[in-house]
Amino acid sequence: MDQADVVKTISDVYSWLTDGAHWRGSDGVIVRTAQHVELSAIALLIAVAVALPIAMWLGHIRKGGFLAVNVSNIGRAVPTFAVLTLLALTSLGIADRTVVLALVLFGIPPVLTNAYVGVREVDRQTVEAAKGMGMTGLQQLLRVELPLAVPLVLNGIRLAAVQIVATMTIASLVSGPGLGRIIQEGFATQNKPELEAGALLVVVLALVVEGGFAWLQRVVDPVRRAHRGDRTPPPAEPALIGAASFVSAEDQTHNAIS
């Protein structure tokens, strides 16, 4: 690839992206981005609503670790393309509802594993102290364990969001909606500027989602927030550091690949 090719590629992609006709209409960039964001957001909400209570409860009673950790490993071994194709061939066919179902399936594992580890690794002495203060099981969970597990819970939600946005892109390969369609059409018609421009748009969306959730993770962490304005840095939380390193070996890597 020499310099002339680089210049040509960039100018081709630029002229594709600056052509207003590619942005308007039912298969334009604007509508496709809106579909992508909307279905991903719905799927993320459902995945969190399903996985978070289960994970927190399992972490609280300190049972089901095998399931909670292995669900991520299983999720990784199943190709998103295969699941979407299988769904497309059932009587359900590919509609918004089936795409959301597939997205939820791939969004659940990271939330489940991270939230479980987060709650489970909360310092036992802290929970004992809460019990000693007369808190009920639910109070311990909501007022002690959940706030301390927030960094890992949010980490799981961030991984799920990135995974869902990526899976949504694959949905285009089975004629699903979303931004991936631009890449898929580019591949199908060997139209390089189109597929390159589509890829660029998807990359921007994925990085915005990842960056947004990474920012949220920093802002929302209650332990860190409680110490904002303090002269002293927040105390090292041994249980959470342990949890984070455990997750980084096994599950932080469960990321956006699909």
Binding site: F81, A82, L89, I170, E196, S245, A249, S258
Partner: protein, 230 residues
């Protein structure tokens, strides 16, 4: 279900033994391509990530930059990554291999670095006190102790690669993904389900092989393991 009967192909059943017997050669070829692609990907990624991680581990800035880049690449959906590689590598099979290697790299670099960092410093001190040089400490002390973390990365990278490779059908290099796509365009249920199940089984098989390999190359962990269970 007309399992193992003649008309399961005509009935377009999900499970069809006749599909496997009539298309045996095609399935084996796809499986072989999938295995080759996975092995090539992981071997190249390991060969690149080891020296890269060793090179950057002493420099805080280089390490942070590399990990940041790895996270960014990892965030890019596979379909978009293949699209971005097309201007560089063209519409040919190499694009699939390069894309898969990039993903595996991001996983492996992280785990190699974590493995090297978690080597207890007193062990390294002891090795230095015994008069070992830097290279010898790296090869005979640090890398062996980093093996569990490296193997954890290899397992994640391999299983992910098996799943990801299916998308390679777009450039005619998808292994079992070629069958899934063909089944989709022909509305052939047995072909899609068979290829999908084979894909998951292949991932599990690779994972089992790596677990066995780790067992073989970390004899010290094996001794601990037998002591604990006996």
């Amino acid at each position: 279900m007309n399992f193992r009967t003649g008309d399961c192909l005509e009935a377009n059943s999900w499970i069809c033994g006749k599909f496997l017997s009539t298309r045996h050669d095609q399935v084996v070829a796809a499986l072989q391509q999938h295995i080759e692609l996975t092995v090539e990907t992981v071997v190249i990624a390991l060969a690149v990530s080891l020296p890269l991680a060793i090179a950057v581990r002493r420099s805080r800035r280089a390490r942070g930059g590399l990990l940041g880049l790895a996270t960014a690449i990892y965030t890019v959906p596979s379909l978009a990554l293949f699209g971005l590689l097309v201007p560089i590598t063209g519409l040919r099979p190499a694009t699939v291999l390069v894309g898969l290697v990039l993903y595996s790299l991001t996983i492996l670099i992280r785990n190699v670095l974590a493995g090297l960092e978690n080597v207890p410093s007193d062990v390294v001190e002891a090795a230095r006190g015994m008069g070992m040089g830097r290279m010898r400490i790296l090869l005979t002390v640090e890398l062996p102790l980093a093996l569990p973390s490296i193997f954890a990365g290899l397992r994640v990278a391999t299983v992910s690669t098996v799943a990801l490779a299916t998308i390679g059908y777009l450039i005619g290099e998808g292994g079992l993904g070629n069958l899934i796509h063909e089944g989709l365009t022909n509305y052939f249920k047995a072909e899609v389900l068979t290829a999908s199940v084979l894909c998951v089984l292949l991932a599990i098989a690779f994972d089992a092989v790596l677990v066995g390999l780790q067992f073989l190359v970390t004899p010290w962990a094996r001794i601990r393991w037998t002591r604990r269970t006996s």
